[in-house]
């Protein structure tokens, strides 16, 4: 046996399970309502908890009295989170939590907690930089080349202002958990994107050994980057449980609180100047940007996005601190904002020189890290969308009141696998169990793990039993940054190969062949050179005697051994119709060309892209967190005026996965983030193309569109 078995993926043409569109394995459980999410757990003796939160955006708690709440009917525990003296930095911040025998009693009791505040001055909006005073912190100028000279020599210069507001994650299952703290043992059922790491984050807060914290999560109702840690509610829930004598406590956020404190994507605004030649070559970029992600301010999106080699660049950025809930990672953090700012500015430059923006992107592809890929993708997207037929010079869209336009956006993301360990067990009866401490956010993680194990062991899909979702399993990384599929597929591949090697050792004598000359195909173990010489899988496993084979495999993030890799890019085109009398933008079509490495399950991969695009369309057309300057309050902490796209709001979506063999050879790449990146860019550009004027601020609401049209007239 060689020291290191061959872990490489089987060649495309021999794959039997990988690459096939299996239906998601937990689909029937979810579609029948039987899937038990953490928020569904009803423990014996369960208490339900509710939060009291701050109505002020900035204040100091001067007095808090919980006596009446403690005496309230049904109340079993009250836990103060913000004691007298605590400074509150945003509306919705946690003041106290109450656990009671019923949800109604808990909610009612929170209103009996008497809190006095010293109200402090707040700033809650950043769109107008002139109004934020000292809350803006300049990050210092960044230079590349000689932008002044670049602009002097430019044959054309375009300028524009662009903005994308703060939006909220709005996971349908709110943040929270059921938690039970008895003695030095903690059982917890959280809604979290990091099952294996949850206990490690919680332990120091509770001063309980990590090993005593038992985490279990079978299903999660959305995360999108906002659910990595136990958060304050994890700790509050534990404290309530302890105070209530170890009763399990369910604490999930109410929607309004969820909208205020449990996740938002930072804004990004910028004044951008682009200079270049009349042939479309961009030579200079200058931007003054600002952003907020809450009290901590907001970092500069990576602009110019993708076109990182533009020779002359000047960047200035201000981080604006506002009194609002803290930002959390959102599906390709800061990339969506960067793509929007960059692609909008490039489109405006193209309009300035009267050129087709797809040609300008092609012309400047050399500035990108993956020029050939982008060239291929632009051409493919142009072809699929019939761009040449439907695109027209800006504003030249006929005499009717409804104008059609096309716009382009681009994306790029890493997506290499995270650190991951898997254990594959082969039992003497032939049954196979794969264990891994991961979570399936709805991406299809459970399904693709089974596919990899089945492929590796030469077994059918339904021969593999999978166990996930607890922290006593082999550890897996957090599901963020599109790192899960690369991580779990690689660790599963390695664990399963390792187990198979052991099985071959046990079987080799019976087949009179060296172990390294065996292969597992179609439910049989056979000799490579003589496939007729074989045993069924069950016969082979019986050769193990009575002891099972149980092997682990690890995806080392730093050495993925070619199983997974980083770097997926894509080009997207939006096709919209704008009613210029009402400013209503309707999606006609959306085309996505996406490079994705080796696809384990095309059905699920496609769903990821559909999902990313639909979420992006929702943000492009409807979503905006509204905070009121005068009161510091969020005015739409709901799903009514915080608007999400419905089933009839998204048009038709066409996905082209770039699965050419040279792409497949790159290995597995995460696909959750990249297709989510370019949608605001594409939609905004399509609207500009349709109506002939840039609508500077997302989302593309009637208000923004009509204002832009009116300003053009004026």
């Amino acid at each position: 046996m060689p020291d290191t078995p061959n872990y490489s993926w089987p060649p495309m043409e021999t794959r039997k399970v990988i690459g096939k569109p299996y239906k998601r394995v937990d689909g029937p459980q979810k579609a029948s309502g039987r899937a038990k999410y953490s928020s569904d757990y009803n423990a014996k003796g369960l208490l339900i908890a509710a939060y009291l939160t701050s109505p002020h955006a900035h204040a100091r708690v001067t007095k808090i009295d919980t006596r009446e709440a403690e005496d309230s009917a049904g109340v079993k525990a009250v836990h103060v989170i913000a004691p007298a003296g605590a400074e509150i930095q945003w509306e919705g911040a946690e003041i106290a939590a109450v656990a009671a025998t019923t949800e109604e009693a808990a909610q009612e009791a929170t209103r009996k907690i008497k809190v006095e505040y010293e109200v402090l001055p707040h700033v809650v909006n950043e769109a107008d930089l002139s109004k934020v005073g000292t809350r803006a912190k300049a990050a210092g100028e960044r230079l590349r080349g000689d932008p002044d000279k670049g602009f002097q020599e430019a044959e054309a210069v375009s300028e524009g202002t662009y903005g994308i507001p703060v939006v909220t994650h709005c996971c349908l299952e709110p943040h929270g958990q059921v938690i039970q703290w008895q003695g030095d043992q903690v059982n917890v059922w959280p809604s979290v994107q990091y099952v294996s790491g949850y206990a490690g984050s919680l332990a120091p807060n509770l001063k309980v050994p990590v090993a005593n914290i038992h985490v279990r999560m079978d299903y999660i109702g959305g995360g999108f980057g906002s659910k990595f840690t136990p958060d304050a509610w994890g700790i509050a829930g534990a404290e309530l449980s302890k105070k209530a004598g170890g009763a399990p406590v369910k604490l999930f956020l109410e929607r309004a609180t969820e909208q205020m404190i449990a996740g938002n994507r930072p804004s990004a605004y910028a004044k951008i100047k682009v200079g270049g030649k009349k042939d479309g070559t961009i030579t200079a970029w200058q931007s003054e940007s600002w952003a907020t992600g809450g009290v901590g301010g907001g970092g500069m999106p990576p602009i110019p996005y993708v076109f990182t080699e533009i020779p002359n660049v000047r960047l200035n950025h201000s981080a604006v601190s506002i009194n609002a809930g803290a930002q959390r990672a959102w599906r390709a953090p800061n990339n969506q904002q960067a793509s929007y700012l960059t692609c909008s500015a490039i489109e405006d430059f193209a309009a300035k020189i009267g050129m087709d923006p797809s040609e300008v992107i092609l012309k400047n592809a050399g500035y990108t890290p993956r020029a050939d890929t982008y060239r291929y993708q632009v051409q493919k997207a142009v072809e699929i969308s019939e761009w040449k037929k439907y695109w027209h010079p800006r504003g030249d869209s006929g005499s009717g009141t409804v104008k059609r336009g096309l716009g382009m956006g681009i994306n790029n993301w890493g997506g290499a696998g995270h650190q991951s360990q898997c254990r594959t067990t082969i039992n003497p009866d032939g049954s196979v169990v794969v264990e891994i401490g991961t979570q399936d956010l709805g991406t299809g993680t459970k399904t693709i793990i089974i596919q990899v194990a089945a492929e590796t062991l030469g077994l059918p899909f339904n021969a593999v039993k999978l166990v996930t979702g607890t922290n006593d399993l082999p550890p897996d990384g957090s599901s963020g940054g599109s790192t899960t599929v690369g991580g779990v597929s690689s660790s599963t591949r390695k664990a399963s190969v390792n187990a198979l090697v052991k099985l071959f050792d046990a079987v080799a004598p019976s087949l009179s062949a060296p172990a390294d000359q065996l292969e597992a195909v179609d439910g049989r173990v056979r000799v490579k050179s003589n496939p007729a010489k074989s045993l069924t899988w069950q016969e082979a496993c019986r050769k193990m005697g009575t002891s099972k084979i149980s092997e682990t495999g690890t995806n080392e993030q730093r050495n993925p051994m070619g199983l997974n890799t980083s770097g997926a890019s894509g080009v997207q085109i939006a096709d919209v119709s704008v009613d210029t009398e009402t400013g209503i933008v309707k999606m006609n079509r959306f085309v996505a060309v996406q490079d994705c490495g080796m696809i384990i399950n095309p059905r699920l991969a496609e769903s990821q892209i559909f999902g990313a695009i639909i979420m992006g369309i929702s943000t492009a057309l409807f979503e905006k967190r509204v905070l009121d300057d005068q009161t510091g309050r969020m005015l739409n902490p709901d799903m009514e005026f915080y608007k999400l796209a419905g089933i009839d709001d998204i048009g038709n979506i066409m996905v082209h996965l770039d699965i050419r063999p040279e792409m497949d050879k790159r290995g597995v790449i995460g696909l959750g983030e990249p297709p989510a990146v370019g949608i605001c860019a594409a939609v905004g550009n399509a609207v500009a193309n349709a109506i002939g004027v840039r609508v500077p601020t997302m989302p593309m609401t009637p208000r923004h569109v009509l204002n832009a049209l009116e300003e053009r007239k004026a």
Partner: protein, 213 residues
């Protein structure tokens, strides 16, 4: 369930047992303080046919079965289902009659169960997603959602399935446009609408095909 794998995670070897987490009817109702009853009961003089404000016994007809529980009049149907009857298929998401995740069918019409009082639902035929499957076979609508990958995280799915059931009960031969319009009372955050559109059409065909009455 159609696949063995579906139940795999349930049998996970974890540090603690799931079994302890499954409970019977009526959590907390017996322990609810009588102080609440007495204090509030004085508030309004009693007239004919009044109940509460303290807990009152009610009966709900859920999926053809009468279920008894004791709740205050302020308890909504979604909370009665989830907190008192362990029917957790319907989800509480917006809790303000907007998102549809709590959709159940009442007397043959889809409603937002977050915005129905449990006490008000007495005497109505309530269909929840738990009543759709027959034995081990999931309902054709659920199957169509699986077949068309019309779900990701799955938290909106129960509501969409019930909204689809109501829609198809009244529109057995929908066009794509009608299907889109018929599900305008539900929201999904993962973006599964493409599959859903196909699922509704597929389910319509399957149901018409005589697999269901």
């Amino acid at each position: 369930m159609s696949s063995k794998k579906d139940s795999a995670p349930d049998k996970a070897k974890s540090g603690f047992s799931r079994r302890g987490f499954i409970r019977g009817v009526g959590i907390g109702t017996s322990t609810l303080s009588t102080g609440l009853l007495e204090r509030e009961a004085a508030a309004a003089p009693s007239t004919a046919k009044t109940a509460g404000p303290g807990p009152v016994p009610i009966t709900l007809q859920i999926n053809g079965k009468p279920m008894n529980l004791t709740v205050e009049p302020r308890v909504t149907l979604i909370d009665a289902l989830r907190n008192h009857l362990d029917h957790t298929g319907a989800k509480k998401v917006c809790d303000r009659a907007t998102c549809g995740a709590c959709t159940v069918i009442m007397d043959g019409k889809s409603v937002y169960s977050c915005t129905v009082l449990a006490i008000d639902a007495q005497g109505k035929k309530i269909e929840t997603i738990e009543g759709l499957a027959t034995g081990n076979n999931i309902h054709p609508i659920s199957a169509a959602f699986v077949n068309n990958d019309a779900q990701q995280c799955g938290y909106c799915t129960s509501g969409f399935v019930m909204a689809t059931k109501d829609f198809l009960d009244h529109n057995p031969n929908p066009t794509l446009e009608e299907a889109k319009h018929g599900l305008c009372g539900n929201l999904c955050r993962c973006g599964t609408y493409v599959g859903m559109r196909q699922a509704v059409l597929e389910a319509a065909k399957t149901i018409k095909g005589g697999k269901r009455a």
